[in-house]
């Protein structure tokens, strides 16, 4: 299969994913209507589809480790952040959830989402089994939401103070960088499935020879993606905290 053929045909129109998307759109509209910030919501849905329906998903399913990493980053950092931002500013959680919104839980969820799913056994399972993959996707979205809640919760008083937020984000960035560094420099495969993929789509020779993506280089790029762009996302969030800290009109008053 050539690259062109691949990008035109390898869209996985998974009925569960599509019905979930439609359901959540309806639910969002019913729950928040005009109060919601639907542009963020639409962005979240688009990125979600990009991660699970586009050829990226086909590559991530057992072919290319770095594609898996892109999918991972989108699901854990981008989609939850956009969804949290789409909530109306007046929203409050029931008191049942307070223990979930402790910063330690959020931090552990955000960092755990990175480390846990890159244990070789789990990483392999998620890349080969549809069920495990679905569990993975769900858990990434949930853990990402818990992580971002600390800085992107709808109400100002639910968020960490800006300086605490910087510490929170910076330490998370460091913890993920360490994993990225390990993946980048590891001489053995962390996720062996990607070393010898089952060639379901007849794409392997294009990937290995056409794109020049050997399994070593693939893992290296995967590690670098976790290390550098991931940290860039955290760095952007840190700058947003600085901006929030220095904003002349604290949002506290408007909340």
């Amino acid at each position: 299969m050539t690259t062109y053929q691949f990008f035109t045909t390898a869209w996985t129109w998974n009925s569960i994913v599509l019905s979930l998307v439609i359901l959540s759109c309806v639910a969002y509209w019913l729950a928040f209507g005009r109060r919601g910030r639907s542009l963020y919501f639409a962005g979240g849905i688009v990125v979600f589809l990009l991660a699970l329906v586009s050829p990226l998903s086909a590559l991530a399913n057992g072919y290319v480790f770095s594609a898996h990493m892109v999918q991972h980053i989108l699901l854990v950092l981008i989609v939850p952040a956009l969804l949290l931002l789409s909530l109306p500013r007046s929203l409050t959680l029931g008191s049942r959830f307070t223990y979930l919104t402790h910063p330690v839980i959020g931090w552990a969820a955000g960092v755990g989402a990175m480390w846990l799913w890159h244990a070789p056994a789990l990483c392999n399972a998620a890349a080969t089994s549809g069920t495990v993959s679905a569990i993975q996707t769900t858990s990434l979205l949930l853990m990402g939401s818990l992580f971002w809640w600390q800085v992107l919760a709808p109400r100002e008083e639910q968020r960490l103070s800006p300086l605490a937020g910087i510490v929170y984000l910076f330490t998370a960035c460091t913890a993920c960088s360490v994993l990225g560094i390990i993946l980048t420099f590891a001489p053995v495969s962390i996720c062996p499935v990607y070393q010898h993929p089952v060639d379901r789509l007849g794409m392997l020779s294009t990937i290995r020879n056409g794109w020049g993506l050997t399994s070593d280089r693939d893992q290296q790029i995967g590690g670098l993606l976790m290390w550098v762009p991931m940290c860039a996302i955290y760095a952007a969030a840190i700058l947003a905290q600085m901006a929030r800290w220095h904003s002349p009109q604290p949002e506290r008053s408007s909340a």
Partner: protein, 736 residues
């Protein structure tokens, strides 16, 4: 002044005065000591530079032998970074930062003195190597395997590593102190959002120090273990990795550039507004871009290693991050320039140096961005183009900022102004000399002249360009002599300065010059970023920034947490090094041979000791002395059992013929568990001291409570580190 002369004349007073300086814990005196040490080594490093340039002035020169030349540039680089730039900058910070926030002193005055005394001690250690069989001749980065025993058998590298370790400890204690001071000792109304930029940048910079320096310290420990105990970390023929040393060194080395440039940025951010008679343009952007620099600076070290052959994927990412970091730096340059626009500029000597800084630093940034491109870097890496680039950063930016900051803050330190006319002489001699020496080196580099060569053949053009470069050094040397004369003369005969000679707006100008021992008789009210402007212009004060409420956490807690933060980097580096080698199969003893069950039992003891310590704290809180002593004794016993277990494991390994030099596994194993063991041992000794104090009945004071809490943080931290070590060393092989 007259006081000083009396002191010089009267022997009794003189003795007291000398002792007062040696035993001082006053931040102002320590700041001055830092600066004098830096100036002394500036002369040393400058003479080294002069000899280097004299040797290179003409082709085929034989003024110094090749090996001596290697020693010279190694000492020159190490001296200028660790013994000139850092102490000079830290001296300014030490003197000015507590004054700027309205504090009486640094948070830990004795730690401050310790940090200072590490500097001359480290400097003497480094230079003592000359007498002890030869200075290091391996470059300031000490690349392995050249720096390993088979290739550098003289003890020079050992002295180099130990000296840097000592200096690193001093630097870390300085950073811990700065963080605790800014967090806990701010005056009334001085909220974090109102900090002067010099203070803010040095506060943020201290975190960068805590991130970067421990990585170097871990690397130094490894290279010393290689050299003294026959370890294998960086020796390729024994399975080690020379590239790992480069990664470790530059993971420290690149942030180090920002560690020395951020304080310089802070100085510029203070001087430009004062001499333009305008507030800084975009305070928030200057402050936030500093944070961005700190975060990004630990992601760019690979651009020092493009020529190593890391592979295209790594090159590509490091190219992108290296270009990214130019953005926050460029934001700063734009802000400083915009501050100048429309200001009533006074061209005093500090301002002249600020303007020179802006121009030279922008040029340094441009050649820096060119190096971020790996393709260009491959061509110019080992040439004088690179030498020119980093001297533009170190001299054109950092030294010029300090040369400006000296006349700016000298009146505060001495009570007298420095001479403007002599200052102009220094300025022009330095600017002309600096540009003569280093602009031409760009051309030399692009013409193919490699760096680190002791001489060169008579290639057309090279001779005269090198001669121009050498002549420039004499201008800088003359400028330095004028500067030293200016300092000495102004100290005795300068115009009396008064409290605020520059009409500046930050707090250090609100007290007398020099400030009294306790700094302030009364701290003026603070509602904005320019408190003295508000006092001078009550009719049009600056807008109030935020609310006045100041939160001041306990400085002991801030200090110990900052210190433990640095320990994370140290152990993190050791664990990563362990994992790096663990992945390669080794001949000989391996992790499978370790007795996991036994270790688990002893680990439980260690973990339990965290619990017993907590109980002891609770007992102390409830003032039940007997219970507190009991739990504390149990904690010590459990810790001792753990250490005993470790010692027993070591003993068994030694019995079976396994020691640190056996293979790569044993090197990494003993290093990682050994350093953890040392930490447990230090914790035990501290706990014993506390047990003794409590036994003596000293446990009732609030001071004891605070200190006991700090030991607790340390003890729990050591236990948490063991969780990671236990998992990495003992559990991971079981999962394979």
């Amino acid at each position: 002044m007259t006081m000083f002369r009396d002191a010089v004349l009267d022997p009794a007073k003189r003795a007291h005065y000398r002792l007062a300086w040696i035993s001082t814990v006053d931040h102002k005196r320590i700041g001055v000591l830092y600066m004098l040490t830096g100036l002394f080594f500036l002369v040393v490093g400058g003479i080294e530079a002069l000899v280097i340039r004299l040797q290179l002035a003409v082709p085929n020169n034989h003024l110094v032998a090749p090996d001596r030349f290697n020693q010279l540039f190694t000492l020159h680089g190490t001296t200028m970074i660790f013994l000139v730039a850092m102490p000079l900058l830290f001296g300014f910070v030490n003197y000015v930062l507590p004054l700027q926030i309205g504090a009486r002193d640094m948070a830990f005055p004795r730690l401050n003195a310790f940090g200072y005394w590490c500097q001359p001690f480290g400097g003497i250690l480094l230079h003592f190597s000359i007498l002890a069989g030869g200075a290091p001749a391996v470059g300031w980065f000490s690349y392995a395997p050249l720096s390993e025993t088979p290739y550098s058998s003289s003890p020079g590298v050992d002295y180099w590593a130990i000296a840097l370790f000592v200096l690193g400890l001093g630097t870390i204690s300085f950073a811990v102190n700065t963080i605790a001071t800014v967090i806990s000792l701010r005056g009334p109304g001085m909220t974090m959002r109102r900090l002067p930029l010099f203070t803010w940048m040095n506060f943020v910079n201290s975190f960068l120090i805590l991130i970067a320096l421990p990585v170097l310290n871990a690397g130094l420990a490894m290279i010393l273990i290689d050299r003294r105990l026959n370890g294998h970390f960086f020796l390729p023929f024994r399975g080690g990795s020379a590239v790992l040393w480069q990664h470790i060194f530059w993971a420290f080395g690149h942030p180090e550039v920002y560690i020395v440039v951020l304080p310089a940025f802070g100085m510029i951010s203070e001087m430009i507004p004062v001499f333009s008679r305008k507030p800084i343009f975009g305070y928030e952007f200057v402050a936030a871009s500093t944070v961005a620099i700190v975060v990004l600076s630990s992601l760019v070290w690979g651009h020092h290693m493009f020529t190593v052959g890391m592979g295209r994927a790594l090159d590509l990412f490091f190219i992108i991050t290296s270009m990214l970091i130019a953005i926050p730096t460029g934001v700063k340059v734009l802000n400083w320039s915009a501050t100048l626009v429309g200001g009533r500029i006074r061209f005093g000597v500090p301002m002249l140096f600020c303007i020179a800084f802006l121009i030279q630093f922008t040029l340094a940034g441009l050649t820096g961005v060119s190096h971020a491109s790996a393709a260009l870097d491959w061509q110019t890496k080992n040439s004088y183009y690179l030498v020119a680039h980093f001297h533009f950063v170190f001299v054109g930016a950092i030294v010029f900022a300090m040369l400006g900051a000296l006349p700016y803050w000298f009146p505060k330190m001495s009570g007298r102004m420095m001479s403007e006319s002599l200052g102009r002489w220094t300025f022009w001699l330095w600017v002309i000399g600096f540009n003569m020496t280093f602009i031409i080196q760009h051309v030399l580099g692009l013409n193919g002249m490699p760096r680190r060569i002791f001489t060169y053949p008579d290639i057309p053009g090279w001779g005269w360009m090198n001669m121009v470069s050498t002549i420039g050094v004499f201008f800088m040397g003359a400028g330095s002599l004028v500067l030293i004369w200016n300092i000495a003369r102004s100290y005795f005969y300068g115009k009396v300065a008064g409290d605020n000679p520059w009409d500046a707006w930050t707090l250090e100008w609100a007290t007398s010059s020099p400030p009294p021992h306790e700094n302030f008789l009364a701290v003026p009210p603070i509602h904005s970023r320019r408190p003295l402007w508000d006092i001078a212009n009550p009719d049009r004060p600056d807008p109030v920034v935020g609310d006045d409420q100041v939160l001041l956490p306990d400085h002991n807690k801030a200090g110990i947490l900052a210190f433990l933060f640095s320990e994370v980097g140290f152990f993190g580096t050791l664990i990563l090094a362990y994992l790096y080698f663990y992945a390669h199969p080794q001949a000989g003893p391996g992790p499978k041979g370790l007795d996991v069950q036994r270790t688990l039992v002893f680990s439980v003891c260690l973990f339990a000791s965290s619990f017993t310590f907590w109980r002891s704290e609770v007992a102390l809180h409830n003032q039940r002395r007997g219970s507190m002593l009991g739990w504390l004794s149990l904690t010590i016993a459990l810790g001792a059992v753990f250490l005993g277990g470790q010692a027993n494991e070591y003993w068994k390994l030694f019995q079976s013929g396994v020691d640190l030099s056996t293979n790569l596994f044993s090197t990494t194993f003993f290093t990682l568990t050994g350093f953890h063991g040392v930490h447990v041992l230090i914790g035990l000794i501290t706990l014993l001291i506390f047990l003794w104090l409590a036994w003596e009945g000293d446990s009732v004071s609030a001071k004891f409570d605070a200190a006991f809490k700090c030991v607790g943080y340390y003890w729990h931290f050591v236990d948490v580190v063991w969780v990671f070590v236990l998992f990495t060393v003992y559990i991971l092989p079981l999962l394979r």
